[in-house]
Symmetry: none
Subunit: 231 residues, 4 copies
DNA sequence: CATGAATGAGCTTTCATTCAT
DNA sequence: GATGAATGAAAGCTCATTCAT
């Protein structure tokens, strides 16, 4: 009479449990690191504190990440650069007008980056870039360049399809980038100290920015697909 | 027979020199600290380096400032420029179109703040705001709010005079503020490390931003004073 | 109906393999430890590395040896070659001239000890003697003294047979010992890092040493059996 | 009426006292470091311990030496490499026979290096060379090469003046070097564990070695300046 | 028995701050 | 007042050792 699988239930469960634990560690550490880096900055965050928040000891952290810098890079990869392929694909697959695509891009950024702790990393990198040149180079290569490329393609798409007026491709990118970076920085700097009346509502802020950019690109509301033909 | 003073001519001259410079000390320290804090951030700047650059010893620094934090606060307070009344007056006196006024405002800001070490304070405060919340609130009240008010008046002027399309007064301000803060931050963070091809030229950047903003406000180039003459 | 054992064929085979190798474990660990201790010294050798090279886990190492120190002691004890009686017999049986015997002794040492991993133990013990005094005394008694006795007998034979000039029996031994120990140490310390031009060729080195010693003993080349025939 | 110098006795004495203290520090630290490095090896010696033994705090050590490695290098320079010029000059100025020069060289080495804690550094470097390649390279360049050059010149002098038989210049050096290194190593390894009867007396040891080397070089006692003319 | 994830004491180095001079 | 030598609390990282599985 055949004994049903698994052949070794006990050993299997043991290995599974261990594995599950081991696999969970990096994630827990990455989450703790993200929180603390955002809260206190890269330099001011102690490795032991990260470990503590992740519920492990100092040594364990270095079992999974070779150094504090590597941990930081992993945080960025996990939350930003690792997701670019997916984002790029989604942008490529977008079928609506370029105005809608830009709107989609910026609101998606807010939903998935700006409104999450990851926006703190953006602020942090901007603040500490000059102190950690290696990290800055990494961030530039893994986040800024791909991000800029993504924006550039959106703008080119708009121009190619006759939806946007022609803009300098290099500086046009900043027209989109600046409001996003501003929002990330604001949120983690002066935003929190604002009086209730002066609070900046991110959604409204973005809406106005998007409107102005699109208007600036020559897109009139309600006339999304046509471009002004005036002299 | 009385021994003529001073007993030690050398020491005496040193003392004289010291006395002469004594009142200048805090200022020199603040200037040195500003430079270094901007260059490297608060945490990464060593107290000794500040003292050195100010031409005094480490001990002297702590004679004038109880701690590095107190020095930081003093640096920011010292650099809270009180020029807003003057700027406001100049803006009020401006007689050209509102588009020209906005252009004037932003290029003037670049000439007198953005392109000077003053922009370092902006970068510094934005970077360290979360570590010095009271200071951030102070800076917000003394610098940001007045600046925002100035921008708001320019926009209102444009709308009142029928030159700009009507925008949300609160969030329209950020349309102007964001590119400026972005530029100040960029200049002190990723800018310096960029490859020559990726270098951002501030004047060109600002020109494109201004164009887009104005275009977004409904202003067409060459038609500066009129709005929406297109069909 | 009885369920045929084993319940877990895979685990069972693992267990079998383990059992088969179980007795080999300490030996494999000792061999790996010898190699690594010699290469890098006691302090610089990591326990995990030893385990790895022995093909077991870190935990297993501590199952067989209570601590790294105990492992070190075991390594040295394990390698205290008991070949002295055999060597002594061979020396006693030697029938040629004492000069040839000395030459034979030193080249044999090189062939069977100096040029083998065994010399590592000499280097290791010499290096770590001050950290493990009891072990050093043990090594001295078990290896050095018998070795010195062997050399002493060779010298005495030469003197007795009128082949060597008379030398202090106690310190003459070191005339032979020093070049050998030097070679063993050099090989494991500065030798490997020497520029090609500075490389020391052991055979040539030994040849010159032997020549000088013999010459120093009054033996002239080609006149091996006679002493001091010169005016 | 002239006031006699110094113009500022108090300030001068203060400065002097401070200066004396500051100047004494490196020496105290170097002495403590030498002791401890010899006692426990490079890796096993903790920086704090060195500081403690020198009577200062951990931080002070790093005020004078950039790192533990630099401290070690300074120890070597202070005690070995820094003295080579003087030693070389003394050897150059030597006017006696080459046999006496060699004897002089080796006994001087014993007096000024071998019989001092510095011999421990020799042993230490030989033991740990493979662990600290940078230090090993430094030691080779600053100590071994100059030392070997010195010995080579002595041998060449003897051969040129017809006092020594001609020997391979490369391996001849080791004939002199090996007994010295052996003695240094012995003293710090197996020497201390010897029974009183087996104790090696360095002076006697060296005397026998020198005799053998000279005899090996063809020098007969009492005939120091003439070389055998036998076929 | 064997594993390897986890631990935490321990190490070098930095730097704000103090204080004798 | 001014100095700068001295301090010692951290911080990042390593690795022998433990122990749940």
């Amino acid at each position: 009479m055949p004994i049903t699988l698994p052949l070794c239930p006990v050993a299997a469960s043991v290995r599974a449990k261990r594995a599950r634990r081991k696999e969970a560690r990096p994630g827990e550490l990455l989450a703790a690191a993200l929180e603390l880096f955002v809260e206190k900055g890269f330099a001011a965050t102690r490795a032991e504190e990260i470990a503590q928040r992740a519920g492990v000891s100092k040594g364990t952290l270095f079992l999974y990440f070779a150094s504090k810098e590597e941990l930081f890079k992993a945080v960025v990869r996990e939350n930003l650069s690792g997701r670019f392929p997916e984002w790029r694909a989604r942008m490529e697959a977008f079928e609506g007008s370029s105005a809608d695509l830009l709107r989609f891009f910026m609101t998606q950024w807010w939903a998935h980056v700006g409104d999450t702790p990851m926006s703190g990393i953006t602020k942090l990198m901007t603040s500490e870039a000059s102190n950690f040149p290696e990290l800055a180079a990494f961030y530039r290569q893994e986040v800024i360049e791909p991000g800029a490329a993504l924006i550039r393609r959106i703008l080119e798409r708009g121009v190619e399809r006759g939806e946007f007026r022609s803009v300098d491709p290099k500086y046009g990118v900043y027209t989109v980038l600046a409001p996003m970076l501003f929002l990330a920085m604001w949120k983690h700097s002066f935003g929190p100290s604002a009086m209730p009346l002066n609070q900046l509502d991110p959604e409204q802020y973005l809406a106005v920015q998007i409107d102005t950019i699109l208007y600036g690109m020559g897109v009139r509301p309600g006339l999304t697909a046509t471009l002004e033909k005036t002299p």
